[in-house]
C-alpha cells in the first residue's frame, strides 16, 4: 500500500516570528531573530547571541491552564503551541478535556535534539544534589523525558495513533516529517503531526560553545551573526523553537475538503557510518549525496525538476562542502543551479527543531511562490563563489516555484532529505 501524503496544516514558533503570518513576513523580509542574550555575558560564553522566540509565555498562558503550565518548560511550550496551531490550521477544533473521543487515526512524531535541560539544570540537578528529591514534584520526568513533548501533545489533542519522539540531533525535525509521511503512506495512520521542538537554555548551548562550533565574532551585531555560505561564517548561532506539519493522506484531505498546501513527494534517511570523512560531528559526503539522490528517486522525479534548495547550511566550515554535494547529487553546475537558501541565516540553528521550522518555511515558500533570502551571505565563501547567483540576498519572487528539496545533517553522521511539491488543485 502506498498512498499520497499531503500537508494540510502548519504551526511554527520561531525566533523571527511566532505564527504563520509573522513567520512568513519575517522570512520574506529577511528579518533576523538573533538577539544578544545578557546571561551568556555573565556566564563567559564565547557566543553571546541566540535565537529565542519572543512572547511565547503570554501565548502559553492563553492556551494552557495553570496546572498544565507548571509542567511545561520552554521545549514543551514551543512544541505544544506549534502543534495546536497546526491542528487548528488543518481545520480541526481542539477537543475539550472532558470529551472522551480519541482520534485513533491521528498520531504524532515530534522530536527533540537535546531535551529539557532547563528543567534539569534549574530543578532536577540542584534539588537532587541538595538531598531534596521529594521536592522535585511530579512534573520533572515528563519535562525531561525524550518523548515529553509528543506525550503532552497527545493529551491536548486526544491522539490515538502512534505518538513518539525521534531524536537524530540536527536531522530530527525533518526526520520526523519523513517518519510520519511513511506511516501515512503505509496506511497505518490518516493524519500525523510531525516536526520537532527545542527549548531555549544556556545548558543546551554550553556544550556546543565549549566545542568552539558557535559563532563568536558577531556578539555585538546579533543580526549579522548567523552567516551560512559566507566567507566570514565562524560557527552557528544556537536557536530554539518548534515547527509542526499536519500530514494527511490525500484521501482523508479530499474527503473532508481540506485546504492542501503541498505534497510530500518523497524522503530519505541514512547515515555515513563515520567513514569517508564522516565522524560524530561531520558528514560523510558520499552519504549526503546518496541521501539526496534517494529522496529524489523516492519522489519519482528527475533532479532537473528541483526549483529550489533549503539546505542544512549552518554557517560552519561545512557549508561549501554541502553546496558541492548538492551540485554533485543533483547533477547541476553553477550555470543551472537552483536557488539555494538557508533559513538558519535568520533563525539560527534550532537543533532538534531546525528541520521542522525549516520545513514549515519550505511549505510557506511553495504556497507563496517565493524563495526567502539567505541573509548575511553578501560575502560568499570563495569555494562556492561560482554559485553566488543562486544565493538570494533579497526575497526571490518565484511564482513558478513547484518543487523544493530540504535536507538536514546531524551529529552522528545522520542525514535526512525530503522533497515537497506545491499542490495544484
Amino acid at each position: 500500500m502506498s498512498r499520497r501524503v499531503v500537508i494540510t496544516g502548519l504551526g511554527v514558533v520561531a525566533p523571527n516570528g511566532v505564527g504563520l503570518e509573522a513567520y512568513e513576513q519575517a522570512l520574506r523580509g529577511g528579518v533576523s531573530g538573533i538577539r544578544h542574550i545578557p546571561l551568556l555575558d555573565e556566564l563567559n560564553f564565547g557566543c553571546r547571541v541566540a535565537g529565542v522566540p519572543e512572547g511565547v509565555d503570554a501565548i502559553a498562558e492563553e492556551r494552557f491552564d495553570e496546572g498544565e503550565l507548571k509542567a511545561m518548560n520552554s521545549n514543551h511550550r514551543f512544541g505544544c503551541i506549534s502543534a495546536l496551531d497546526a491542528w487548528a490550521d488543518a481545520g480541526f477544533e481542539r477537543p475539550a478535556h472532558e470529551d472522551d473521543h480519541v482520534f485513533w487515526e491521528a498520531g504524532a512524531v515530534i522530536g527533540t535534539g537535546i531535551g529539557g535541560l532547563d528543567t534539569a539544570g534549574e530543578k532536577l540537578i540542584p534539588l537532587t544534589d541538595a538531598g531534596k528529591v521529594r521536592r522535585l514534584g511530579s512534573t520533572v520526568v515528563e519535562q525531561i523525558m525524550g518523548s515529553g513533548v509528543s506525550a503532552r501533545v497527545s493529551g491536548l489533542l486526544a491522539l490515538g495513533n502512534q505518538v513518539t519522539s525521534n531524536s537524530s540531533a540536527c536531522s530530527t525535525g525533518a526526520e520526523a516529517v519523513v517518519e510520519g509521511y511513511r506511516r501515512i503512506q503505509d496506511g497505518l495512520a490518516e493524519r500525523m503531526l510531525c516536526g520537532g521542538s527545542e527549548g531555549s537554555s544556556h545548558y543546551i548551548w554550553a556544550g556546543f560553545d565549549s566545542m568552539r562550533v558557535l559563532c563568536r565574532d558577531f556578539n555585538d551585531q546579533p543580526e549579522r551573526a548567523s552567516r551560512p555560505m559566507s566567507a566570514t561564517a565562524g560557527g552557528f548561532v544556537p536557536g530554539s523553537g518548534a515547527g509542526i506539519l499536519h500530514l494527511e493522506s490525500l484521501e482523508s484531505a479530499e474527503a473532508r475538503g481540506a485546504r492542501i498546501y503541498a505534497e510530500v513527494l518523497g524522503g530519505a534517511l541514512n547515515c555515513g557510518g563515520h567513514r569517508g570523512g564522516g565522524s560524530m560531528t561531520a558528514p560523510n559526503p558520499e552519504s549526503v549525496r546518496r541521501c539526496i539522490r534517494q529522496a529524489v528517486e523516492a519522489a519519482g522525479i528527475s533532479p532537473d525538476e528541483i526549483d529550489a534548495i533549503n539546505g542544512h547550511l549552518t554557517a560552519t566550515g561545512a557549508d561549501a562542502g554541502e553546496v558541492a554535494s548538492w551540485a554533485a547529487a543533483l547533477g547541476r553546475t553553477p550555470e543551472n543551479f537552483p536557488a539555494i537558501t538557508s533559513t538558519k541565516s535568520m533563525i539560527g540553528h534550532g537543533l532538534g527543531a531546525a528541520g521542522a521550522m525549516e520545513c514549515v518555511a519550505c511549505v510557506l515558500m511553495l504556497q507563496g511562490g517565493f524563495v526567502h533570502p539567505s541573509i548575511n551571505s553578501e560575502d560568499v565563501h570563495p569555494d562556492i563563489e561560482a554559485f553566488s547567483a543562486s544565493i538570494p540576498q533579497q526575497a526571490l519572487e518565484m511564482p513558478q516555484l513547484r518543487t523544493l528539496i530540504k535536507a538536514g545533517f546531524g551529529f552522528g553522521d545522520v542525514n535526512v532529505c525530503v522533497v515537497f511539491r506545491k499542490w495544484d488543485s
Partner: protein, 82 residues
C-alpha cells in the same frame, strides 16, 4: 491562622490542578480532590509541595497520604501551622 483563611488558600492551590473547573465553583470541605475536582493523582505531590511553600510547613509522606478531601487538606495544614 483562621480556618477560613487556610481553606481559601488550600482551595486556590488545588484549583490550579483541577481539570473540572466548574466543580471548583461549588467546593466544600467534603469535596473529594481526585474524584470531584478531577485532579490527576500524580499531581497530588505537587499540591502538597505547594502547601509547604504557601504555609511554610513540612508535610511527611504518611500525612500526605491521608488527604482525600478539601477538609482533609485544611485539617492537615491547620495542624501544622498550629
Amino acid at each position: 491562622m483562621e480556618r477560613s483563611e487556610i481553606r481559601d488558600k488550600v482551595v486556590k492551590i488545588i484549583g490550579a490542578y483541577a481539570k473540572d473547573k466548574e466543580a471548583m465553583g461549588s467546593v466544600t470541605e467534603e469535596t473529594n480532590i481526585l474524584e470531584d475536582l478531577k485532579v490527576n493523582s500524580a499531581r497530588l505531590v505537587d499540591v502538597i509541595l505547594d502547601f509547604e511553600d504557601a504555609f511554610d510547613i513540612e508535610v511527611e509522606d504518611e500525612d500526605a497520604d491521608s488527604v482525600n478531601t478539601v477538609g482533609d487538606a485544611v485539617n492537615l495544614v491547620q495542624a501544622k501551622v498550629g
